[in-house]
């Protein structure tokens, strides 16, 4: 029923980019966690989450992202986010994720001065 998630990794200078397509839920979020662990283990300190504008994100998916935000603090990493619809930008702000991550309207803006 949920759109299968696809997470691909790319690198731009010293920024690791997680391209996330599909629904972000408690179960599909494991793929995001795995991708995060992979770049984290490789020593990345700057990570950009690039979401699908049309994707569905529920509270289970938000919890996964909060878990990653928590871990990124311990690992002294910076997390930026782009690609979110206006609605999910609002939701991320409501739950407080914007205290621990930064949201940008475009990839270009997210990569600038990262």
């Amino acid at each position: 029923m949920n759109k299968e998630i696809q997470v691909s990794l790319s690198q731009k200078d010293d920024v690791s980019i997680l391209n996330i397509k599909g629904d972000v839920t408690a179960t599909s979020g494991e793929a995001i966690e795995e991708a995060y662990q992979k770049v984290s283990n490789a020593g990345s300190k700057k990570i950009l989450f690039y979401f699908d504008q049309d994707g569905y994100i529920n509270s289970g998916g938000i919890a996964i992202l909060i878990g990653i935000a928590s871990e990124s603090r311990k690992n002294e990493q910076r997390i930026r986010i782009t690609g979110l619809s206006a609605h999910f930008q609002k939701i991320f702000n409501m739950v407080g994720l914007t205290k621990y991550t930064e949201i940008f309207l475009t990839e270009e803006l997210a990569l600038k001065d990262f």
Binding site: M1, N2, T25, A26, T27, Y56, N58, S59, G60, I62, A63, I64, I66, G67, A69, S70, R73, S85, A86, H87, I91, M94, V95, G96, L97, K99, Y100
Partner: protein
């Protein structure tokens, strides 16, 4: 099933089926003339209410269903989500600081989101057993009960 102003549907207690209820509510809200941003708010609230019913109410028991009733009135849409469970023990307000510091589990945002996104919400035992989450979203009123 549909009366003049009412649509009812039943979904299995399986994760992912909440999207059917979500899309149904969105279609009705669009027909009523809700703005795009309010439709998005409604979609998230309905999805989260269904997820609570599936996961916490019906414990993902395949033999149970979640019932959703959408009632259209002149200036509002009411959505009731009914499960067959025992109810919510307590409703805690989540704090991201506690979750980030590992003091609380990172989950537990569903009810917070519902309360934040609709105009009125109640969580009650249903007369016939189970629990019902009733949500109301007004056609023209903006979020925020303080006006």
């Amino acid at each position: 099933m549909m009366a003049d102003n009412k649509v009812e549907l039943h979904i299995p207690s399986v994760m992912g089926y909440e999207k059917i209820a979500m899309e149904c509510a969105a279609s009705m809200a669009k027909k009523m003339g809700f703005t795009e941003d309010r439709i998005e708010d409604l979609k998230t609230a309905v999805a989260e209410a269904c997820l609570n019913a599936i996961e916490h109410g019906n414990k993902m028991d395949n033999s149970t269903k979640v019932g959703i009733t959408l009632t259209v009135e002149e200036s509002k849409l009411q959505v009731s989500v009914k499960d067959q469970g025992k109810g919510i023990d307590q409703i805690l307000t989540p704090r991201i600081e506690n979750k980030i510091e590992g003091k609380d589990q990172s989950r537990g945002w569903g009810i917070f989101l519902i309360k934040s996104l609709v105009n009125e919400v109640s969580f009650e035992p249903s007369p016939g057993g189970g629990n019902v989450t009733k949500m109301i979203i007004y056609l023209e009123k903006q979020i925020g009960k303080d006006g």
